[in-house]
Symmetry: C2
Subunit: 608 residues, 2 copies
């Protein structure tokens, strides 16, 4: 049986590009992309991508060249997910929230040959290009300067340019597409290059293969049970793990992509109403935007109901951070149906999905939300997941209690970090990918994250999961966001310090300082947690520091927490109620920026 | 980027075996298999399969050894789909409807090392083993005699044995499973060996790879939108393309397998009612069993309704033959929801699925049934499908009219035919797999089969699709089954000849000869078809000859048709009504058997 040969008929390379070819054929007349008044069909999207690929080839883009793009969720960015790899090139989507310095670093590291820039991002892109031209210490040769192509707004052209070329001209310019797929590529070839947002370290360039992208896409559609003809709202940035594979997935299902330039509540609610959106992805932070958004006066579709509910349910896949159970409960009351996924850039986005079980429908809603906040079971593209003691590589017992590092293996794991052999080698151990996250496996096989390895607080020899403390904080009716980190403690070594933003709805900033005291929060935690796990310090901020992808930057908060010492009166022997009057509320606006000088400013402010 | 290495963490072999490992872990306590009063959980099924694999290894089964099995849809057959390849071996499921001679041929050709036999099939298996021991002309060496292991009924043990070993003893005997998967295999390794039923030629051994099986399984679950926790009724034999991949697919979804020994209406309706079946697969012929079955007196669940309807809808995936639109309409009225798929053994079962479009819901039910009878769009594991002129390999226009051969390529296509290089080479051409089926592509991208290449009737230079004539025949209220083949015609070369069985419901055998004349049927066809396409001969049989998998054996009917000549009075110039009284109705019981002597008997009978 080993003699039976592989041939082009029975062993074609796995690639998400086949999803577009197929959609262009079997879903030809269905709407593929909606953006403002602009609508495309799958036949058109297929042709536009072919023309883009052809134009890139005529610009001398060859196999494995990197094509970078800085754009919001506009049709051009969607099309590049197919058109760029169709030309054999590797798509590098750059986070639009980065500053010029970070963008220049990525352009330099990726050696991008082409740089597509949405017209709105010309100022920061120009500055990045200027920085790119500057000589860098230790660089053996000057940086390659990419060909710059502006993306004007396809729906409302502005005429703004940066250089000579514009995206639509490329799409309209070339009819003679010579496909590079099929004959010329191997499924292990790179398809995209995604730089991590760097919650814990410098950005690294994560490379996906065609095979990994195909398998991740298929598994995730399957796991989320995305049926036929979905209408998918682009609330999640496409630059985030290629939209958690749904850039390719919507093509696989012949669905409709609803593109929006800004992820604000009015635009999201309008799109949901107008295009009958069925699916969307977002980080839990967007739940807050949606919850606050229904109260804004300019929100077009408030249906005069005292209690706003969506006309038809919208499936939300959420991840990036564990969604607090209380927040899930709130958003579901509006008619959103939340599925919780866990993933990371290195695992092509979501790797675990909290698959719902029918029997859980019998449970009280509060219990359901708790189950829903668990990270769940592996998608089918992963061969195996486990929680291990990293020293011994022995699996922890499946008791929901013993913590260990979450490890993954399977075809949805990245090829590795681009030009970073050391980091690549460090990420893989004994045939496993190490996530750097700490978790438990429950007896029912569902995994639950307890923390990032670096976020575990070790207090008096006990491990405290910051996520567990945060979960309790989120249950407090006035807490909008919470982040818990270690602060130094003279006796215990470390102790939890909580950073909190308050809900606008329940408490206005003016009244907050009077009503919501640190003591009340600590007391609340002590009622709901073992005493040693309750924070000994609560700091109120107007905003929490976040990465460009919306993840809370705990390393910033850790730096801040180091400047505090726990009040001696907050020891466990003193009843929390007695402490409340003594403790001053710290309430500051956080200026989100990764730069050290600005961090210093915040630290200075916090010392005021 | 090419330097980034494949490793065990990021490039694991694709195999459906990972579905079982995963199910045993994340769906551990859910019911995996139900058979009578016997219930297993996924934890148990995983352990039983490991033990089976281990026992096979201790019986000296090594990589690529063939393990054959002759059994109905019992739990043992399900478990072998995992346990046998876990030991590195190749599973060969033998059609239980074959005779001893055919079984011996398969055992000889496959060189089976082990032969599992369900207790019910001991007589035919013993005879096959006897034949296997006989010397064969042209054989270079005596046939290998496999180790025989009987499968007793797990729910009601009979104690019947053939040889010393019994399946449950194997499963209970060995705790030390040394897994061969992962480290030891390549995804291109064989997983199963399925002999075609041979509608047109001698059986060939189709080999699937682990990769092909994995990808086919995932695509088919996705295309059928099989959600979580399905309850799957085994109405389709598992020996038929490994249950169209659902042997592996139910594990992938953590569903429940409802096994039944016989595919009879009472057992199917009882299982549907008792276990809340959500999904089942079957050939359209089973629709007739279900339709007739609701009228039988021993049917336990007739709910005293004048119009029987299922309590909750059951999804049916059907294929193997195009389901007549009228039949789809009838079965859907009972509460079954039909999805039509097209496939063949060489494409790991279903390769095209008639994906439903929401807008079709607006159409009249008759139009819907017609759309539903089309073969549809490719599953995602196929890279491409097309309809081509085989001479030029040029694609036909997508107009729903131009016919050509249906060709496929992608990872769900077989590795090839075992020990048959010539047939393998013939099946592949220019990077395509040739299905031997003739079809059209509609402007909306949906494919529709017109015929098997060999079944096209060429009459006066015009191609007549036998399926098209059959579709009209099925619309006649009294027609239960219809098959149309070519018969010789002195002027036109060939002309259609129809073989028909009548519906029991509408016409009893006694009255049929009086009421339903050949002329009436021909007249009906001429009203609904171009005249040249209407049959010039109609033969009434009590049963149509079928393969062991329920496909009508047109080659038998063609042989029969050759013995007829069209009545000269049935030329198009004579009004059909005028002919009816002249033509004698031929009504015979067909004895289904492939053997030439018996065919001769039938031919003799038909001349009576």
């Amino acid at each position: 049986m080993d003699k039976l040969p592989k041939c082009a008929a029975n062993c074609t390379p796995l690639s998400p590009l086949t999803f577009l070819t197929r959609a262009g054929s079997v879903y030809a007349d269905r709407t593929s992309v909606i953006y403002g008044r602009t609508h495309f069909t799958w036949r058109q999207t297929y042709e536009r991508c072919c023309r883009l690929a052809s134009s890139l080839q005529s610009l001398n883009i060859v196999k494995n060249d990197v094509v970078s793009v800085l754009a919001p969720n506009v049709p051009a960015l969607y099309e590049m997910h197919f058109g760029v790899p169709m030309a054999g090139a590797v798509l590098n989507t750059i986070n639009t929230r980065l500053d010029a310095n970070n963008i220049a670093t990525i352009l330099r590291h990726s050696e991008a040959k082409v740089f597509f820039v949405d017209y709105q991002y010309i100022p920061v892109a120009s500055e990045a290009l200027r920085l790119l031209c500057e000589p860098v210490a230790n660089a053996s040769q000057p940086a390659n300067i990419p060909l710059v192509i502006v993306i004007d707004d396809v729906d409302s052209p502005t005429g703004i340019r940066l250089g000579e070329l514009e995206y639509e001209e490329l799409v309209h310019g070339n009819r003679n597409y010579a496909p590079i797929i099929d004959q010329l590529f191997d499924e292990w070839d790179p398809i995209t290059l995604n730089y991590t947002s760097g919650t814990t370290s410098a950005p690294k360039g994560v490379v996906y293969s065609h095979r990994g992208a195909y398998l991740s896409t298929v598994s995730l559609i399957l796991q989320w049970e995305m049926g036929s003809e979905p209408v998918y709202l682009w609330s999640l940035p496409m630059f985030h793990c290629n939209g958690w594979t749904f850039t390719w997935g919507v093509a696989a299902r012949g669905g409709t992509n609803v593109c929006i330039r800004n992820t604000c509540a009015p635009d999201m609610y309008r799109a949901i109403e107008e295009h009958k959106v069925t699916h969307m992805c977002c980080a839990p932070i967007v739940f807050n935007i949606l919850l606050e958004g229904i109260r804004t006066p300019d929100q077009a579709i408030n249906t005069n109901q005292s209690e706003f509910v969506l006309k038809s349910p919208v499936q939300i896949l959420t991840g990036g951070a564990p969604p607090p159970a209380a927040l899930v409960e709130k958003i579901e009351k509006l008619g959103f149906h939340v599925t919780h996924a866990y993933g990371l850039t290195e695992a092509t986005g979501p790797a675990l999905v909290c698959e719902w079980q029918a029997k859980w429908n019998q449970l009280p809603i509060h219990e359901q939300s708790k189950l829903k906040a668990r990270q769940g079971v592996s998608v089918l593209s992963l061969a195996e997941i486990d929680v291990k003691d990293l020293e011994t590589m022995v699996s922890v017992p499946r008791d929901g209690k013993c913590v260990g590092e979450i490890v993954l293996r399977g075809s949805s794991i990245m090829k590795g970090y681009f030009k970073d052999e050391e980091a690549t080698n460090k990420a893989f151990k004994n045939g496993w990918f190490l996530t750097g996250d700490v978790g438990v496996i429950h007896p029912d096989g569902y995994l639950e994250i307890k923390d990032r390895s670096k976020d575990v607080i070790i207090s008096g020899g006990e491990n405290i999961s910051s996520v567990e403390v945060e979960t309790v904080l989120y249950r407090h009716p006035n807490v909008l966001e919470a982040a818990v980190v270690a602060m130094p403690h003279p006796f215990y070594g470390e102790t939890p310090c909580a950073f909190i933003t308050l809900s606008m709805r329940k408490s206005s900033p003016a009244s907050a300082s009077d009503q919501k005291t640190e003591g009340e929060i600590i007391s609340f935690c002590r009622k709901n947690l073992p005493h040693y796990m309750a924070p000994r310090k609560v700091v109120f901020l107007e905003e929490l520091p976040k990465t460009s992808t919306g993840k809370i930057q705990k390393f910033q908060l850790r730096a801040l927490a180091k400047t505090y010492t726990p009040s001696s009166s907050s020891s466990s022997s003193v009843p929390p109620a007695a402490q409340s009057s003594k403790i001053q509320i710290t309430r500051r606006r956080y200026v989100p920026d990764d730069n050290q000088p600005q961090l210093e400013q915040v630290l200075a402010m916090s010392r005021l």
